[in-house]
Symmetry: C2
Subunit: 342 residues, 2 copies
């Protein structure tokens, strides 16, 4: 039997000490970490980039099928993905948790294992936070801090007419992972003896439960001397994000359905669930890929990186936001992309 | 009748736009504010200080007697108080909210009124955040960012033997405000027709519901060229905080009961509730005053500021952490200070 340690047996300061005692700061910019009123960082000569996310049980995640270690990992990833999306490098995070008494210390340790795994992989320091008891549900608030050379950050509002629209990795997988796990949960609740076969859907489940942040793309863009003209990460689905860039840059766009990167595994999963893979990519969300625009002059530099797809281009605002389907039809892009196809 | 606008009628992006559209950035260091993947700040030549707090309804606040505007104000104050406690100046905050559907847009507006009032008073910019729906209860996560000249921050761990222990303002009031409001809530639930007389307890209620951060003390210390050797804010009660400084500085201390600053209003309230005012100051918490140590050589400089009390001094660690009562008895300071008096 697994042991269960009540968090109340440690108290708040005991818990913080337990969770943070092995931290070794990796970044020279981390001057003061956990254990004081505040942390101190020194991005001397650089600008500091800050983002924050609040994740609430039952709204953003379902512990019925989300291992706590994966949840800890993902909580870090979704935040540092926003830092990369500014063309910056993440250097520190703070982490606050609201914990209900149904959680044991062992459960919280598992969550932190995932947090520390992500911190190690992306060379980010955990420098502060807060722990509180919650009356109901698990609450996670992460703030990520990064650095960027002065004025090298990339906003959403600075795309230019004629720029290429590019997208990293492939889209729609995380959404299909969610559809699959929601179905399995329903089956399990009805017939607990049925064991789900997760092997078939390993790719899409992995896309949902263990996303990565695209540091490699930011590194590639830097090495290739490509400065995106605008950039953001894809957390809400391609449609919603491209509309943000168009609105904030006051431009139109055209994207081509056939250019939207969708993996074979995602297509197969969509087929099984009778869903349109393009709709999943446009509206699914949670893929944490990067969406960016860049000058057409840099097009050749992309040829070396098969992780980047050119999916369209920016137009004058009067032309609106359009998607051209494989069949050659043109539709307006809407925040829920599949509506255009109904 | 007050109007009620459902938040769902705006959607997440509509809500963010509504809440943040009037923001005018006040700090030159706020380069990019709300509306992108992340905010950008430029503390060029300064170090950046970060702190975060998670406030959960039913755990940290009770909306039965906490006006939302006050709650918004206090959410900012408790965080920037931590920045001041590092001897730094707060410059930005991020704010994330988890909102259940029992909240109307008007209620959230009221909360933000308090947030913006605090931001304006302390010249802090709101530069980012997240809004989420919560299944139950109101959840507030604030991260505050500040700046300090290189290596001028003040930690908890650097007090020295012989240093004076100083405390700003007065203590115990917020706790008595809480005791009073909890009693009134109980009376109201039993007999809704009884109207509480708040006037008598105005001071202690104000200490609880509308605390201020002690910017004035930080300014005074700077102007007087006093560099505290250690500092923190008093959020959990004087006993708990002094023990943090002793533990992290590896020292003992002596404090004098008669030197602990307690206002007349707090003494009167304690008397009414048959509580020991000293116990309220030692263990009450939420006063958000500053506790700091400094060299005895700077003692004279304090004479000009009646908002600062010298309450004791640091000793070698072997001497332990002691309080000397008005009657001349010596007790160990414990995290729940009143235990020493039982």
């Amino acid at each position: 039997m697994e042991s269960r340690t009540e968090i109340s047996s440690l108290g708040e300061f005991g818990l913080i000490e337990h969770l943070t005692k092995n931290i070794e700061l990796q970044n020279a910019s981390s001057i003061v970490g956990v254990g004081d009123d505040a942390a101190v960082i020194d991005h001397f000569g650089k600008q500091t980039v800050i983002t924050t996310d609040l994740l609430i049980e039952g709204v953003h995640f379902d512990l019925a099928y989300t291992p706590l270690k994966h949840l800890g990992y993902k909580s870090v990833i979704v935040n540092i993905s926003d830092i990369y999306a500014m063309n910056a490098l993440p250097t520190q995070i703070t982490l606050s948790l609201g914990i209900s008494n149904r959680f044991s210390l062992e459960a919280i340790d598992e969550f932190y294992e995932g947090v520390y795994a992500a911190c190690e992989k992306y060379a980010v320091d955990l420098i502060g936070g807060d722990t509180a008891s919650s009356q109901k549900g698990f609450i996670i608030s992460v703030t990520a801090i990064g650095e960027v050379s002065p004025d090298r950050f990339v906003k959403r509002s600075t795309a230019r007419k004629g720029d290429l629209i590019c997208c990293s990795g492939d889209l729609g997988g995380a959404y299909l992972g969610l559809v699959f796990l929601e179905r399995e949960k329903k089956i399990f609740l009805e017939s607990p003896q049925v064991k789900p076969d997760l092997e078939d859907q390993k790719y899409v489940i992995g896309r949902l439960l263990k996303p990565e942040a695209r540091k490699d793309i930011i590194d590639f863009l830097g090495d290739s001397e490509i400065t995106p003209t605008s950039m953001m990460d894809i957390s809400d689905g391609l449609s919603s994000e491209i509309l943000h860039i168009c609105r904030q840059s006051e431009l139109g766009c055209v994207i081509y359905e056939e250019k939207i990167p969708i993996s074979e595994e995602t297509r197969n999963a969509a087929f099984q669930f009778e869903l349109d893979p393009t709709a999943c990519a446009l509206s699914g969300g949670e893929d944490y890929e990067l969406l960016f625009t860049m000058s057409q002059n840099d097009h050749e530099k992309l040829l070396l990186n098969e992780q980047i797809s050119v999916i369209g281009f920016m137009t004058e605002p009067e032309k609106g936001q359009k998607i051209i389907t494989k069949g050659g039809n043109t539709f307006d892009i809407t925040a829920q992309g599949w509506n255009a196809f109904r």
